[in-house]
Amino acid sequence: MQFSTEHRTGYTEVLGNGRLNMVAAPKLRDVVSAVVAAGKTRIVINLAGTSFIDSSGLGALIGCLKLARQAGGDLRIACVQPQVQMVLELTSMHRVLTPHPTAEGAFSDD
């Protein structure tokens, strides 16, 4: 899985391409902790290119949410694919990490 980071106005976008599974999960955690360490705490994970996620991947997202919140910011997810949406609902995780249709709109409520 490949990750890239873009600094945008008001938030930092992390794009993930590939399968966010148990192998990729630690990598995502590393990427986000580097972003938080650099002082960017409003983060959007753009999952447009993520075709598959498993419970370890979701666990990593929660770990990243914790990092962002502890640093005083927040983490949101955007552009989820159907399989990801299904897994989110299966575990009720969509209530903790609610998917936003676009990365730009993820922080629009505040």
Partner: protein, 654 residues
């Protein structure tokens, strides 16, 4: 064929058992001596339920045929250790490294010992300790150790080994095949101990459990996790962690919002609240909490709901501080006293939260105090689970024995388990009574904790048969209370002449004896070739341990008291036998012997009748034979394998 006879015996046992117990309740009670007759009939009913659950277990014994292991399955082998000797850990780790199926081996050292780390590095074995996140947070013992390692590794499957469980090279090849069924989350293999003599004085081997009982539970898709020598599917564990996490967050958020509203309403009564700025801010925050509760009910996003409330509160606090409404010193002290920043010991964060919320709702706050207490509570429940080291806790942390609770939750989520009946790891059992008693107490406490916290009978998601299979194991741990009655009843008859039944007549014998005979036959047939007598002895003889487990677990679950591990008295400090460890049992044995003598004297002088005396003397004799195992256990000086005797001789000769 054997299975057929087992089922015939189960049916007969239940029919004859119900026939006997129904007669006992309806016809036989000696109401004049209700204080012993009621406990006795209750104990007998307990035992009938126990044997009926055993019958249900062995009704469906499943003999599995292993499937070929998928060659590409990735596996992490976890060796959990806290304070075991380095050599023991290394032996296990090297054997684990030599397992044939490709895998990574990890030592999970909860003792964070440099010595172990150096050994691991020297032999090319992975070494993991708790991350910095765990500092000053609940550690959750072995479950915490495993949860920590889960976040640091990435194998599809995990093999969990205690530090003393030396695996065979084929442990993975023979078990991974079961996972080709995509719903299988757990494969448990037996725990077997090599340092136990044939007569097993401490009852260490559990051949009935790692045999007919687990095979029977497997038949009902309820074979459960026993902490070691088991394989788990990572995906299932992680899913368990996620679902548990969402559930816990939601409960916490609901409670916190409710408590916040109460605190704000109380603050409104304070003199400062007359100020329009203060009143406005309080309204704003209360409005935010009310909106949040509506949104939650509608299934709204937990993270966004709490985030918005938190922002409103933060804004209000800033405004209040800016306009010089200072917090009362007393309020600050109270917030500190709520202890929301993660406690120590074994308390559930949920319990701490409940306690804090209770305090919060019963206090008159200054406006700023109220808002700050709301902040504190929101922080405590918030999405990131401040009070816990990591938000996702795949292995259950509700009990000191994480295993049973975890597999129960897996079953409740629709996952399946398998029991593989082949010894694939050789462990070391305690070699002295004191350690053995401490270990049994811990297992019993853990099981009772789960029974009280997440009673399987009321768990959604499991079939009735699965619930009963879990309940059956918990039920056996209540035997301590029945044992006391079984010891007391014959003593009371022989010394005082008081019978708990109307009369010992033909009615009694024709109902009791057939039941007893088929019951014993059932055990003999299901346990064919398995030594089960040791287990039967210990289930009665360790009654003080079982009772203590029940009382301490109940106090822990209901009143948040610590379980208190250290209470086992110190024994055998200089090699002397630890008689004090079994003081209650020695007292019972003395009473039984005295009763025997008094009973015979009373018979001779015509105070007791012959048939009653005969039955009770036989009963006392049985009790004494059961308890005699403890004499052997106290005198046991540890396992002496042949090589060690030779070494000993060489040393002494030189």
């Amino acid at each position: 064929m054997n299975q057929f006879w087992v089922r015939v015996l189960v049916v007969l046992t239940v029919i004859l058992g119900v026939n006997y117990i129904a007669w006992r309740w309806l016809e036989s009670l000696n109401w004049a001596a209700w204080w012993i007759s009621i406990p006795l009939v209750a104990s007998e009913t307990y035992s009938l339920i126990d044997v009926a659950l055993f019958g249900m277990t062995v009704w469906r014994i499943k003999h599995r045929k292993p499937l070929p292991a998928p060659p590409d399955a990735t596996v992490d082998v976890f060796i959990t250790t806290y304070n075991e000797p380095a050599q023991m850990v290394l032996d296990t780790a090297l054997a684990a490294k030599a397992i044939t199926h490709p895998h990574s081996t990890w030592i999970l050292d909860d003792g964070a010992r440099g010595e172990i780390q150096a050994l691991a590095e020297e032999h090319g074995i992975g070494y993991l300790t708790r991350s910095a996140d765990w500092t000053d947070r609940p550690r959750h013992a072995k479950a915490g150790n495993l949860n920590n390692a889960l976040m640091m590794t990435q194998g599809e499957f995990l093999l969990i080994l205690d530090a003393d469980q030396v695996p065979e090279p084929e442990i993975l090849s023979n078990t991974l095949g079961y996972f080709s069924s995509r719903r299988i989350a757990l494969v448990q293999t037996p725990q077997y101990f090599i340092n136990v003599p044939d007569d097993d004085p401490l009852g260490s081997q559990a051949p009935l459990f790692y045999g007919p009982i687990q095979q029977g539970k497997d038949g009902w898709n309820a074979a459960f996790f026993c902490g070691s020598n088991a394989l788990l599917r990572r995906e299932a564990l992680m899913q368990l962690g996620l679902v548990g996490y969402v559930k816990e967050v939601e409960t916490g958020v609901r409670k916190a919002l409710k408590a916040s509203r109460t605190a704000i309403r109380r603050a409104r009564k304070s003199p400062e609240a007359a100020d329009p700025l203060v009143a406005g801010l309080l309204n704003e925050v209360e409005g935010a909490t009310a909106r949040a509760r509506v949104e939650l009910k509608a299934g709204g996003s937990l993270s966004e709901v709490t985030y918005r409330v938190r922002q409103t509160v933060d804004h209000a606090v800033q405004a209040l501080v800016g306009s010089d409404f200072s917090t009362l010193e007393a309020d600050l002290a109270e917030i500190a006293a709520m202890e929301l920043d993660g406690g120590d010991g074994f308390n559930l964060p949920a319990e701490e939260l409940d306690e804090a919320i209770e305090r919060m709702s019963h206090r008159d706050w200054s406006p700023l105090g109220a808002l700050e207490s709301v902040q504190a509570v929101l922080d405590a429940i918030s999405i990131e689970r401040h009070a816990e080291a990591q938000p996702i806790m795949p292995l259950a942390t509700i009990s000191v024995t994480e295993d049973m609770a975890t597999s129960m939750r897996l079953h409740a989520m629709g996952w399946q388990s398998a029991y593989h009946h082949e010894v694939l790891a050789n462990g070391l059992a305690p070699e002295d009574l004191k350690t053995m008693l401490t270990q049994r107490l811990r297992w019993a406490q853990g099981t009772v904790q789960v029974m009280l916290r997440e009673n399987p009978l009321f768990q959604k998601g499991m079939k009735a048969s699965q619930r009963l299979m879990y309940f059956a194991t918990m039920w056996t741990y209540l035997s301590g209370f029945a044992a006391v009655v079984y010891f007391a009843a014959p003593i009371i008859y022989l010394t005082l002449g008081i019978l708990p039944v109307n009369s010992i007549s033909t009615d009694f014998f024709v109902r009791f004896i057939p039941f007893m005979v088929v019951n014993q036959l059932l055990f003999a047939v299901t346990g064919r070739g398995i030594p089960t007598w040791r287990g039967q002895q210990y289930s009665l003889a360790l009654f003080p341990t079982w009772i203590k487990a029940c009382t301490t677990a109940a106090r822990n679950v209901w009143f948040g008291r610590p379980l208190g591990f250290a209470v086992t008295p110190k024994a055998r400090q200089d090699g002397g036998p630890g008689w004090s460890l079994i003081r209650p049992q020695l007292v019972v044995m003395a009473l039984l012997v005295v009763a025997l003598i008094v009973g015979l004297v009373r018979l001779a002088v015509g105070l007791n009748e012959p048939v009653g005396t005969l039955v009770n003397v036989a009963w006392v004799a049985f009790d004494l034979v059961v308890l005699s195992v403890l004499i052997k256990a106290v005198k046991y000086e540890g396992f002496v394998p042949n090589e060690r005797i030779r070494e000993h001789a060489v040393q002494h000769g030189a």
